[in-house]
């Protein structure tokens, strides 16, 4: 059809990993050397859970490559003054000058010491959504590894834009950095705002569409009817941030209204801590000799260590038992003939008052609805049934509970995650076929798969790499500006931990130090890639002002944006279709990425770089060379800094550590090592093979989708329902902080409860806003919430015309979504220009009226409010990010908050 002269054509295999729901494997049609079309990679249909399809965001990549708005040459700032209203005066410079400029600053920082007078790394870096930039930054991780300590704690959305609570608690309880249903087998899903049809990517959409076709029922519980709500069998419009009450009421129904034998009693007895006896101080009652938690054996009528063979432990009942409790700092309390009950009995008593009628008033959901879905959940759970997976017989429990992000971060996140993990335990549906599964690990190690991170820990539970809270080992001097290891034991100390700490606190402390922590110095050098925290975080006005004070900022820039507006140097890297990289695929990963294969995919450049854009690996190599870190950099690559170790048992493709290697040589070695890794050294094909084939995989056992078999193998238990370990750690942390005079974290310490109590989160938010802004909170009657957009989320693609065009087909984009009846009362009509104001700030936009939203709720989809980014700055779309204040009072114990705020709405102009 198109064109009269037949073009020279070729097809290039690559991947899209613009969002955490990827990677999508795709092909690029290249005509006369120009990328013209994105297509699925049907060669991958058999191995990719999404059938080799690519999501809508990938179709923006062609315009991303050829956008006239790209930064095509290195630039340097000529105006030393920084700020929103300062013209940076960027002028074009050579790569040589740009890299020397950056390298000189880095060398100076290094010469002054890797950490500064406060103990913080002098080099800081911020990367975008969910670690996806690593799929595009080539060997930069190797450079950062060669460098040494880097402060990654300046967040760009983490904690408030992610499912933070399940990242931490999920990893603790079932190696679940994120959680999802076992969708291919699940029959009934309770989804509290999980927007899988918008943010689950190709795999999520495909798996859920298949599940609907075979009759899976999903009940969507959320304040507005999202895309996922639309695709669900039922929508229950719950009041924002009251999900924990709904969930607690479900537990109440299961424990107080349903015959006990309908629960999965064997699972509770053998795979959870339900039978563990609880001492008077709230800690496990232990065997004085072995210090193991005691259970009461109904067969022998005596207390025995939990791992005694052949016992029938009691779940309920009161027993008189001798034993010890181990409290904080290993303090031992000895009990003789103590009257104790098992953890399960404590749980039953704990939820007694949380009836559906109680929850109904909080959630604005009829008690009958809560009761009905609980009974439906139980009815679908098939307690007692089994299924065979790859020859192994496993429990089959096709019911699951999924969470969206505002349910799953900030205050209330603990309660919700606890309930979401506990309810499956009650019916034996945690991490078994059909049930609620963890996806991947990011805090536990090793991270190659969930099973390999399972190691025996204390008390029959899995090991978890808590940050120490002991008197001698607590990290009183933070290693990063968020104080993540100091304040949040659960955040561990992996390469991801900094990004999961209270990243907003790194920004907050730049404005005002917190008592008894080191002075929050700015980083000497700040590197920014694929992120725009001046738009994407909360209280973006303050974030923007803070970053303007950083002395030297280097931004890798596709186009100008609000963050690189304060940069000193702009470096144009190759966009997605231009750069070369090998990336691991398969296994189990975020959201709904459950593969039957694992291996590697190549991002093969489809087209040459535009302008003077450079491959990221070339940039990293040059930085290493110019900062004198070439050897360490090459060593880091050899060690696996480019996603694959170059040396294994049967192969060695290590780079000569003394030499500068070309981009192609580095990735050729990686491809060879990847081939060898997948074939146990039998095959060693390199870059050319991957270019011809796109990807290479080997089978991944479906058994590894489930943690249950691994726990059985190691005779371990899920750490539910009683959080003795968290209780102890909380007490220890309290002591450490108080010993250092820190009392500003006391509110957060209250979250360390063995059995969480319900918190009135609405009041918590309102009180915090009232206290900090001296407002009459009644003047702000609406909850403002947000929702992800498949077209935009994580994509860094707001400046792409095609994305805007197709996103506009979906209701709500670029406007304030409001309930029709609520709008009528305020005289607001569809299309009117309104101002939405929180106590902190305001935003303007047009109103879209819908029936699919609660009358007390407003919705602003996505993140906009751009004032520099070409194309996007003309959207005039509202954004909630500037409206949400960063407050310690709104920060929970895991260091996160939730993306919502109380607001008022005022009409500015009638619709044209």
């Amino acid at each position: 059809m198109p064109g009269s002269k037949p073009p020279q054509e070729r097809t290039v295999s690559t991947y899209c990993y613009q969002c955490v729901a990827g990677p999508d494997l795709l092909t690029v049609r290249v005509q006369d050397g120009v990328a013209t079309e994105i297509n699925p990679n049907f060669k991958a249909a058999a191995i990719h859970p999404g059938g080799g399809k690519a999501c809508v965001k990938a179709f923006g990549l062609v315009q991303k490559a050829y956008s006239p708005n790209r930064v095509l040459y290195p630039m340097k700032r000529t105006n030393p003054k920084k700020g929103r209203h300062e013209d940076p005066g960027f002028v074009r410079i050579s790569w040589d000058e740009a890299l020397d400029l950056v390298a000189d600053k880095m060398k100076a920082a290094r010469a002054a010491g890797l950490t500064d007078e406060s103990g913080f790394p002098r080099l800081a870096a911020s990367f975008g959504g969910g670690g996806t930039p690593t799929a595009y930054m080539g060997t930069l991780p190797a450079f950062l590894s060669a460098w040494g300590p880097v402060d990654l704690s300046f967040g760009s959305g983490q904690g408030v834009k992610c499912t933070h609570s399940e990242h931490l608690y999920g990893e603790l309880w079932h190696r679940a950095f994120t959680v999802c249903p076992d969708t291919p087998l699940c029959d009934y899903v309770l989804s509290f705002g999980a927007n899988v049809e918008a943010s689950g990517g190709v795999c999520g959409v495909k798996r859920h569409a298949d599940a609907r076709s075979r009759g899976m029922k999903r009940v969507q519980i959320e304040p507005h009817l999202s895309i996922t709500g639309a695709c669900s069998a039922e929508w229950i419009p719950i009041k924002p941030k009251t999900d924990s009450a709904f969930l607690f009421a479900m537990i109440h129904v299961l424990l107080h209204e349903i015959a006990r034998e309908k629960l999965d009693i064997p699972f509770l007895k053998q795979r959870t801590s339900s039978p563990y006896l609880i001492g008077a101080n709230g800690f496990f009652l232990r065997d004085p000799e072995t210090q193991k938690p005691l259970v009461f054996d109904l067969a022998t009528k005596r207390a025995v260590p939990f791992d005694t063979a052949g016992i029938d432990p009691a779940l309920e009942g009161a027993f008189t038992v001798d034993g010890i409790e181990i409290g904080p700092d290993q303090e031992i309390a000895t009990h003789t003939a103590a009257a104790v009950t098992p953890a399960f009995a404590h749980l039953v008593a704990h939820v007694k008052s949380y009836s559906p009628e109680w929850a109904a008033a909080i959630c604005d959901v009829p008690a009958a609805a809560i009761r009905r879905v609980t009974n439906e959940f139980l009815a679908h759970a098939r307690v007692g049934e089994t299924i065979e997976i790859e020859g192994m017989t496993l429990p089959f429990r096709p019911v699951a509970i999924a969470f969206g992000k505002t349910v799953n971060n900030g205050w209330g996140g603990y309660e919700c995650c606890w309930a979401r993990t506990l309810i499956p335990c009650l019916v034996g549906a945690l991490d078994v076929p059909g049930g609620t599964l963890g996806t991947t690990v990011r805090l536990n190690r090793p991270a190659d798969n969930r099973w390999s991170s399972v190691k025996p820990g204390p008390d029959g539970f899995m090991y978890y790499p808590m940050n120490p809270t002991g008197k001698d080992d607590w990290i009183s001097r933070p290693t990063a500006r968020s104080a993540h290891r100091t304040l949040v034991p659960l955040v561990a100390n992996s390469a991801w931990s900094q990004a999961l700490g209270p990243t907003h606190m790194a920004w907050m402390m730049q404005k005002e130090d917190l008592d008894h922590l080191p002075h929050a110095t700015p980083p000497d050098v700040w590197i920014v890639y694929r992120t725009n925290p001046a738009i994407s975080f909360w209280d973006t006005k303050a974030v923007g002002e803070t970053m303007a004070k950083f002395p030297f900022t280097v931004c890798f820039a596709m186009t100008r944006d609000e963050t690189n507006h304060v940069a000193d140097v702009l470096l144009p890297d190759c966009t997605d279709l231009e750069g070369l990289q090998l990336m691991r695929i398969g296994g189990t990963k975020y959201i709904e990425q459950f593969w039957d294969h694992q291996g590697f995919a190549l991002r093969d450049p489809a087209v040459p770089p535009q302008g003077e854009a450079k491959d990221f690996t070339w940039i990293a190599t040059e930085l290493a060379r110019r900062t004198g870190l070439l050897k360490e950099y090459n060593i880091a690559i050899n060690r696996g800094g480019a996603d694959v170790k170059l040396k294994g048992e049967n192969y060695d493709f290590s780079l000569d550590v003394t030499k500068v290697h070309s981009v192609e040589d580095i990735w050729d070695a990686s491809c060879r090592a990847a081939s060898a890794e997948l074939t146990d050294g039998v095959e060693t094909q390199g870059l050319d093979w991957f270019r011809a084939n796109g990807f290479r995989v080997k089978p991944f056992s479906r058994l590894m989708w489930y943690l249950y078999p691994k726990l059985v193998e190691q005779n371990l238990r899920f750490e539910q329902p009683y959080q003795e370990r968290l209780l102890r750690i909380g007490k220890e942390l309290e002591r450490r902080l108080h010993e250092h005079g820190i009392t500003w974290w006391d509110k957060q310490l209250a979250e360390y409860e063995a059995l969480p109590h319900w918190r009135d989160l609405g009041a918590l938010w309102e009180d915090a806003l009232t206290k900090h802004f001296q407002v009459q909170i009644g003047d702000h009657p609406f909850w403002l919430i947000t929702s992800r957009s498949m077209q935009y989320s994580w994509g860094n693609n707001v400046g792409i015309q095609l994305i805007k065009e197709v996103a506009d087909n979906v209701m709500g984009h670029g406007s304030v979504v409001m309930n029709e009846s609520a709008a009528e009362k305020l005289g607001i009509a569809d299309g009117d220009l309104v101002e939405v104001s929180s106590p902190l700030n305001s935003t303007k936009g047009k109103v879209t009226l819908r029936e699919g939203i609660r009358p007390d709720t407003l919705l602003i989809i996505g993140q906009f409010d751009h004032w520099v980014t070409p194309y996007a700055k003309d959207f005039h779309a509202p954004s909630m990010n500037a409206l949400v204040p960063m407050l310690l009072d709104l920060t929970d114990a895991t260091g996160s908050s939730a993306d919502l705020v109380k607001v008022k709405i005022t009409r500015l102009e009638k619709a044209a």
């Binding site: 049907f42 399809k53 049809e197 569409a209 498949m790 015309q801 087909n809 029936e851």
Partner: protein, 530 residues
């Protein structure tokens, strides 16, 4: 035989627009030209709300109205059911656009790029200049299908032979295949599911089927009643409710304004000639008016230099027929005037009458515009044409003494025609209201009722009566009556062709189940149903 068809499973579709983007890529369409897109429809009242995503585009109808109306033969239907457009023949009249009840057709008149005036490399590489100024729409990616068949590949299962939207669909909601093959994927899906076709009541027999429930499910006796605007449920949609068609603008309306009035005048002049009124000047005026209308059309079409192609399809297209009739009308009328032969003049007037009928039929055949396709529009167009012609006659009579003698009978005829016209107007409106119509169309017509009644009937009747009572002022009063009838006729036709011309929009006889439950109510946003 083969019948290619698309099946969209509404239970699976998530409205992600990946098909939209893939289509834009595969077919290199201009920004905002979405041959395939997915609608977002919300219906009901809080908290009983459902939201449905509906892929739409050319439905490749078995009985495609776009093909029937196409005057140039550019739009055709292949034996395998695919409706095609030949860009080299299309004149860009956009008749197909207003004939399509699925809003599937586009016309781009000037180059448009993603980022303004400058084309990006990919846009230069994929520039398709032959599409400028002509109709374009989804082709079912017929080039892929043909490639597949030529190379032994199965369309619908082999991606190389399958439409791009189907290939790209991440929910596998879109499927493509041969309906005449009982074993095809689409035949199987239709057996296993309950399905509907959009606007089935229009008889176009679309090749696009929507699945909304499993076939095994019990008959959904509890399906709630249909929802349309003004009823209990409210609807919020994006690009779903009827919108104002833009392709037939004031220039297109000019043909109906001038053509109707001119043909009417010619008829009145011919009748008057039997009473000794010289026909030459008024008949020339009538021809000039008709010519003006036709001339405007040439400026309206996207490819003016191809205007003669309008004659290619007299077998089916009323636009072609109008052109042929116009081609006969002018020489016949000129011969009549040159020769003074009244019989030839009568023949010309009859041809003018047919021309007027053609105009009515052009509108009636526009299935995409509910206000036009109502059969009663024909009588309205003809009645107002004659009334306007008579009005013009009286206007001319005020200036041409030779015609003045016929003013009185013409005024009486005018009164009669005004009465007939208002009767056809009321009948037309009643039909629209009883049959259902876009709400905006009815609102616009409702706003016309009073002034059309007053200016198109009451005032001229009063003026005619006054003229009969006060002969001394009769010429002026009759002329004013004529002007009133003429002006109101033009005004109402202008509104009919432009402002009230809302298209069909989209509607669903069922909203789908989602995993479990029963289908939801029918929705027809932007419509006032009977």
């Amino acid at each position: 035989m083969t019948r290619w068809a698309m099946v969209a499973d509404l239970e699976r579709c998530v409205g992600c627009q990946t098909c939209t983007a893939a289509c834009r890529h595969a077919n290199a369409t201009s920004p905002a030209v979405q041959w395939r897109k997915v609608l977002d429809i919300e219906a009901g009242s809080f908290p009983n709300v459902n939201r449905t995503f509906v892929p739409v585009g050319c439905q490749h109808c078995a009985d495609p109205p776009c093909m029937h109306v196409c005057p140039s033969t550019a739009t055709r239907k292949r034996p395998d059911g695919i409706v095609t457009i030949d860009y080299d023949i299309c004149i860009g009249c956009a008749y197909c656009d207003v004939a399509c009840p699925y809003q599937a057709r586009f016309k781009v008149t000037k180059e448009d790029f993603a980022y303004g005036a400058e084309a990006m490399q990919n846009e230069i590489e994929r520039e398709i200049s032959e599409r400028l100024g002509v109709a374009q729409k989804c082709t079912f990616c017929s080039d892929r299908i043909d490639f597949g068949i030529d190379n032994g590949l199965a369309p619908g299962s082999d991606p190389r032979a399958t439409p791009a939207c189907v290939n790209a669909c991440i929910a596998d909601a879109l499927q493509f295949g041969d309906l005449d093959d009982a074993n095809s994927n689409v035949s199987r899906l239709l057996r296993e599911h309950k399905s509907f076709r959009m606007h089935a009541e229009l008889g176009t027999e679309p090749g696009f089927h929507y699945l909304y429930d499993k076939a095994a499910a019990a008959p959904a006796a509890d399906i709630k009643p249909a929802l349309s605007d003004g009823q209990a449920g409210r609807m919020r949609t994006r690009g779903v409710e009827p919108w104002h068609q833009k392709h037939w603008d004031w220039k297109a309306s000019g043909n109906f304004l001038c053509g109707g009035a001119g043909a009417g005048l010619l008829g009145v002049v011919t009748i008057a000639s039997f009473f000794g009124i010289p026909a030459l000047l008024p008949a020339l005026a009538a021809l000039a008016i008709i010519a003006c209308g036709l001339g405007l059309l040439i400026f309206k079409i996207g490819r003016p230099w191809r205007f003669m192609y309008v004659l290619r399809q007299p077998q089916r297209s009323w636009m072609s027929r109008e052109a042929w009739v116009a081609g006969l009308l002018f020489p016949l009328a000129l011969v009549a005037l040159w020769s003074g032969n009244r019989n030839v003049l009568v023949a010309a007037a009859i041809v003018g009458l047919i021309f007027l009928f053609c105009q009515g039929m052009i509108l009636e055949q526009s299935k995409g515009i509910p206000a036009w396709r109502n059969p009663r529009v024909i009588a309205l167009i003809m009645a107002t044409g004659f009334a306007e012609g008579c009005g013009l006659f009286l206007l001319l009579a005020a200036f041409l003494p030779a015609m003045a003698v016929a003013a009185k009978p013409a005024a009486i005829a005018l009164a009669a025609l005004a009465l007939i016209r208002i009767w056809t107007w009321w009948r037309y409106l009643a039909a629209l209201e009883s049959g259902g119509a876009p709400t905006r169309t009815l609102e616009i017509f409702t706003a016309c009722r009073m002034w059309f009644f007053a200016g198109g009937l009451v005032l001229p009747l009063a003026l005619v009566a006054a003229g009969l009572i006060v002969p001394v002022a009769a010429a002026v009063l009759f002329a004013l009556a004529g002007l009133s009838v003429f002006a109101t006729g033009w005004a109402v036709k202008f509104i009919l062709i432009t402002r009230a011309a809302y298209n069909q929009g989209f509607a669903l006889p069922h909203t789908p189940i989602r995993g479990s439950g029963v289908p939801g109510p029918a929705v027809k946003p932007g419509w006032t149903s009977p």
